[in-house]
């Protein structure tokens, strides 16, 4: 392992724009996801084929997971964003298993971009659902004194999202490289298995946290101020 393996450097230049490996791998992931989706639901029919059944199963599972957290009328608007988060992060995390490639999520720039999108989507869905005034009102509840803490909480949870994902994936890759360097060719295989589990778990955690933040923005109440924890009790649907 060289020091360059952990560094993010520009691979290509698109005019003045430097294209890093993260961007290129992300494009590859995007292409794979879109092609896979197109292949699965190329000919949608009421009597589904095996591929369509797989696609429906994935989407129904995601929809049910979202429906457990957000109100029923908000499931469909939230689904594209959250489902894409889950699918993309899972795909990106697993990219690190391919020899010669690195997971885009080992780059803080990528995880920060995703965290910022979650931050923005939270406000976007909150304002769309409740209106600007009503949404901003939750920052001064139960007391205006708590407004700075609300804002600080949102910033820190966004940073936590970005750094959690980045740290876990990068440390996994680093550990695999270190074991490979020290122990030999086949020894890191168990660690790669752990990588698969970690990739799934981290994708699930990131998407679930994003979902909980969005749900908190859609239904702000007494409990909505402490939605930073996955153990946050799910509110009853209206």
């Amino acid at each position: 392992m060289s020091h360059d393996s952990a560094a993010i450097t520009a691979v290509l230049w698109l005019g003045p724009l430097p294209l890093t490996e993260t961007v290129l791998t992300t494009w590859g992931n995007m292409l794979a996801l879109v092609v896979a989706a197109w292949l699965l639901v190329r000919h949608p029919a009421l009597l589904p084929s095996r591929k369509q059944t797989l696609a429906e199963s994935i989407l129904v599972a995601i929809e049910q997971a979202i429906a457990e957290v957000v109100p029923e009328n908000a499931v469909r608007p939230v689904l594209p964003f959250v489902a894409t988060l889950w699918l993309f992060i899972l795909c990106a995390n697993l990219t690190g298993l391919i020899p010669g490639l690195h997971a885009p999520t080992r780059d803080l720039s990528a995880t920060a971009a995703l965290a910022l999108l979650v931050f923005g989507s939270t406000h976007w869905y909150g304002i769309r659902t409740k209106g600007l005034r009503s949404y901003l009102k939750h920052y001064v509840e139960p007391s205006p004194i708590l407004a700075p803490f609300h804002i600080l909480s949102e910033i820190t949870r966004t940073l936590a999202l970005a750094i959690r994902l980045f740290g876990n994936i990068m440390s996994l890759e680093m550990a695999a490289l270190l074991v490979l360097m020290i122990a030999g060719f086949l020894v890191p295989v168990p660690l790669l298995m752990l990588h698969v589990i970690e990739a799934v778990v981290q994708a699930y955690i990131f998407g679930t946290l994003a979902l909980i933040y969005i749900a908190g923005a859609i239904e702000p109440d007494e409990n909505a101020t402490s939605t930073d924890s996955p153990e946050h009790p799910i509110k009853e649907k209206s």
């Binding site: 894409t84 803080l108 720039s109 990528a110 999108l117």
Partner: protein, 252 residues
């Protein structure tokens, strides 16, 4: 830990594009199919519920109809049992009447048979009695007895009522002149008795009569003679025969 602003911005754009692409090519088609299927299933479920409701209604109607049928069946059965009981009672009464009639007929028949048997026995006893009397009289029959009966005959002939006398006279006169009157006698008459008979008959008829006597032992004792349509019996055989054939009820 590096941070590249270009990568950061490109990653934001990439993700938004990916959201759009997946929504366009994955989420919308699959969700539309799911919604269509769900709506069809709901429609089919509604149809099934309606069908089930209709079936329940039909089932209830059928149950009510069945209950009515059972009620009617029970009613008809009770009526039938009542009619059968009535018919049975009537049949029993008819049979009892028939039996009593048959018994009355049988009793009448038995009574008639008994009466017939009694009458037959009486007749047989009577016949036997007359036969015995005839045998006894056969043994008792004799010329003196015939002569005595002859005397009684003449006396009775003389003592006839005017109507009887008139009737005998008419019968004697109806016969041609000089007709010989025939008389049967059980024994030979004594001399002069035949002339006495002719004389008595001549006196009765008012013209001269001739009598011819013939022997007939079957008369036992006495005589028998015919005058026109009349037959005069003055003998034991005819007397026995008269009593023999007389209706016993007439005597009583």
């Amino acid at each position: 830990m590096q941070f590249d602003w270009t990568t950061f911005v490109l990653e934001i754009i990439n993700f938004l594009v990916l959201v759009w692409l997946l929504a366009r090519f994955f989420y919308r088609p699959v969700l539309r199919i799911l919604d269509d299927r769900k709506s069809r299933m709901e429609a089919e479920m509604a149809l099934a519920r309606q069908t089930q409701q209709d079936a329940e209604t039909l089932k209830q109607q059928y149950a009510a109809q069945l209950a009515d049928w059972h009620q009617e069946q029970e009613k008809a059965r009770q009526q039938l049992e009542l009619a059968l009981a009535r018919q049975k009672e009537q049949g029993l009464q008819a049979i009892q009447h028939q039996i009593s009639d048959e018994m009355a007929k049988m009793q009448a028949r038995e009574a008639a048979q008994a009466a017939s048997r009694t009458a037959q026995l009486q007749q047989q006893a009577q016949d036997a009695a007359f036969d015995m009397a005839a045998v006894l009289l056969q043994r008792l029959g004799s010329a003196p007895l015939t002569a005595r009966i002859f005397q009684l005959f003449l006396e009775d002939l003389a003592g006839l009522s005017p109507e009887e006398t008139s009737a005998l006279r008419d019968a004697a006169r109806a016969a041609p002149e000089n007709t010989i009157l025939r008389a049967e006698v059980a024994h030979a008459l004594e001399p002069g008795q035949e002339a006495a008979l002719a004389q008595a008959l001549s006196a009765l008829s008012g013209r001269s009569q001739t009598v011819a006597c013939t022997m007939n032992p079957e008369l036992i004792a006495g005589l028998r003679m015919a005058i026109g349509g009349y037959v005069l019996h003055a003998n034991l055989a005819d007397a026995l025969d008269f009593f023999k054939h007389r209706n016993p009820h007439e005597s009583s």
